[in-house]
């Protein structure tokens, strides 16, 4: 594999839960992200999947320092983002950007497309008006919108077009890393396809490293080079996308993959489903040992003892399950 571009080491984000107005006291601790480590090469696309509440969005935001990490390091091109002060962080932000789920909420309704894109450019360096105009036009073309639309407001666009504007705004500062948090979840199937194609093309052409957060496994499998599966704040399995999807190692991944409906009646009727019982446990009060053991079909006594670490299963894949070798 190519040289490491982004390295996340032992990242933890813990939120205290407090009660009371005047006499605030801490009544609990939610470990939203609890010891996540991985590394990515330049231009690689990582898919981050898991159920709601598993910490995938918090992880994305913590990597970009939108939420301060409790512990751990985020090393982007040799620089530890977690150790930067405010002004250094601001300067570093041109290297990384974020795309959000809801294009209706993430664009300012009172700013034209031109203003939104120009603001991002001006915020980070001195740039002449002429140059801004040229670059806005180029960006619009790059995301598949006609430069004629620059004077329009967000409400004049459809959901898919707004998501293109949000992508253009992220690209305006020429970042090297983009984290896209559920970028296609709010869109219709036929529009989803356009945005997925666009993100894949941009990543390829611009050597963009992309972390694609989604709960839709078939979308993630399609676009990603590698997939990381999260459960209760930890990565439980990571490996090349096709392998994780076709031959999952961790019992949770097995259940997740089996729950994805296949749009093919014949295959859908044949296959055997692993239905998980119950809901994910409360993050305030996680189970001991492996957080998945109360819902796991393969669990035995040892599973509730110690938290399993993410270990290599073969040269390309890692999984955090003490019975991984036995059950695969």
């Amino acid at each position: 594999m190519a040289e490491t571009f982004l390295e996340v080491a032992g990242l933890k984000t813990h939120f205290p839960v407090e009660r009371g107005v005047i006499l605030r006291r801490r009544v609990g601790l939610v470990k939203a992200v609890d010891g996540v480590s991985f590394s990515l090469a330049r231009g690689e696309i990582l898919g981050l999947v898991g159920e709601s509440g598993c910490g995938k969005s918090t992880l994305g935001r913590t990597i970009l320092q939108l939420i301060p990490p409790t512990e751990g390091a985020v090393i982007l091109a040799g620089k530890n983002l977690a150790g930067l002060n405010r002004s250094e962080l601001r300067a570093a932000r041109t290297d990384f950007q974020m795309i959000f789920q809801d294009p209706y909420a993430s664009l300012n309704p009172r700013m034209t497309v031109f203003d939104a894109l120009a603001e991002a450019m001006r915020a980070h360096r001195d740039i002449s008006t002429g140059e801004i105009q040229d670059r806005v036009a180029t960006l619009m073309q790059k995301v598949g919108l006609s430069p004629r639309f620059v004077k329009k407001y967000p409400h004049e666009f459809s959901g898919g077009q707004r998501q293109r504007i949000a992508i253009a705004r992220a690209l305006a500062v020429e970042p090297k890393l983009i984290i896209a948090d559920e970028p296609v979840s709010a869109l219709d199937v036929s529009i989803q396809a356009q945005i997925i194609n666009l993100l894949a093309k941009l990543s390829r052409e611009m050597q963009l490293t992309l972390i694609f957060i989604s709960h839709d496994l078939s979308v993630v499998k399609h676009i990603s080079d590698r997939i990381a599966v999260m459960y209760m704040g930890r990565i439980v399995e990571m490996g090349p996308a096709a392998q994780v999807f076709e031959r999952p190692l961790h019992p949770y991944t097995k259940a997740l993959v089996s729950a994805v409906p296949i749009p093919d009646p014949a295959r859908e009727h044949q296959r055997q489903r692993l239905i998980l019982s119950g809901d994910p446990p409360s993050p305030m009060n996680p189970p001991s040992g492996c957080a998945f053991h109360p819902r796991c079909a393969y669990a035995k006594a040892d599973c509730s003892q110690a938290v399993p670490t993410l270990e290599a299963f073969d040269p390309t894949r890692t999984t955090a399950c003490i019975r991984a070798r036995e059950i695969n």
């Binding site: 199937v189 409906p261 009646p265 014949a266 998980l276």
Partner: protein, 334 residues
């Protein structure tokens, strides 16, 4: 799964030429425009389409849930057991809704009353429709919660909705819909707001309930995957019309309408990994402007002048119908 019973001459529900228009300041929006379909006892019908294609409005029209004005049911009939639902008075509808036809909605957070205990909401249909005594109704309510897989039902029935997770609230909705043993369940995107693992639980639950009770289900969804595993027949809707209708296998395996075909090609799950996904050019039409010919024509790669003429849903195989002039003439092979 239950096979439809063909012995009855009349289908359970027969919808003919339903037109629901919304009269807004910006013109008349033809949300549902001449939709006809039927469903047999015990059958599962899927209605798929993108947002704004009229799938929800179709079902809301049947149950008198369209706000009037601005909405208006312009024409059509919906015969359910010799009664035309569209011509019923509110009092007549109230005897059918929640009793013989039940509905579950997409968002279990907003469709339960946050001020009422689960118990009171759950047994309300029994108190109203079946004049069951309260004590007996509570017993049935606890049983209904057990049936949908809620543990400690006798205690949990005293809870308020906020004490439940999203998946559990949707189970409560299902328990509430099924408590009067309806003949027809209309499910409007019931799993869209849920995680895939919980979605799988809910789908298995509906399948089991259906097998036990032999009720018919109309399942509205934009997710082709969910419909594939659950439904026997599928209606594909576009711009307020049914463009293709048929058995699930033929809808997926041999699509006839170019829109249905394009939809299948644009979902990642059916394509080789990393391949560029097929995209449908353009956008769905503005329904406030009258469309005379095929509504999909401006985006269709097979469109010709002939597509400007009005097109009807025509039978072209066993139980299969397509609304595409060129497909009907046998000119396109997808």
């Amino acid at each position: 799964m239950c096979e439809p019973q063909k012995t009855d001459a009349m289908p359970l529900l027969q919808v003919k030429n339903l037109r629901t228009y919304f009269h807004t300041r910006n013109g008349v929006v033809r949300a549902v425009d001449d939709v006809s379909f039927e469903i047999e006892k015990g059958e599962t019908l899927g209605i798929v389409g993108e947002s704004g294609s009229g799938k929800s409005v179709t079902c809301y029209s049947l149950l008198g849930l369209i706000p009037q004005p601005p909405g208006r049911i312009e024409s059509g009939e919906a015969i359910f057991d010799n009664t035309d639902l569209l011509k019923c008075s509110t009092a007549e509808l109230n005897r059918i809704r929640g009793k013989r036809i039940a509905m579950i909605f997409q968002d279990p957070m907003t469709s339960l009353n946050p001020y009422m205990r689960i118990e009171d909401q759950l047994i309300e249909p029994l108190l109203i429709h079946e004049k069951t005594g309260r004590q007996r109704a509570v017993e049935l309510g606890v049983q209904a919660l057990k049936d949908v897989g809620i543990q400690d039902a006798a205690q949990r029935i005293r809870s308020y909705p906020h004490e439940f997770s999203g998946g559990m609230r949707q189970r409560v909705m299902i328990a509430m819909a099924l408590i009067t043993k309806p003949d027809l369940l209309i499910a409007d995107e019931p799993t869209t707001a849920l995680d895939v693992t919980v979605q799988a639980q809910i789908i298995e639950l509906v399948k089991r309930m259906q097998a036990e009770r032999g009720m018919a289900v109309i399942w509205i969804s934009h997710d082709l995957g969910v419909v594939a595993g659950l439904c026997q027949r599928v209606n594909v809707m576009y711009a307020g019309r049914v463009v293709e209708s048929g058995p699930t296998t033929s809808i997926y395996r041999s699509p006839k309408h170019p829109y249905n075909h394009a939809l299948q090609k644009s979902i990642p799950a059916l394509q080789p990994k990393g391949a560029e996904l097929y995209t449908i050019a353009g956008m769905p039409p503005d329904l406030s402007k009258p469309v005379t010919g095929c509504a999909f024509m401006p985006r269709c790669e097979f469109a010709q002048d002939i597509c400007r003429a009005p097109v009807e849903l025509k039978k072209d195989g066993p139980g299969h119908a397509t609304a595409c002039t060129r497909a009907q003439r046998g000119e396109i092979n997808l």
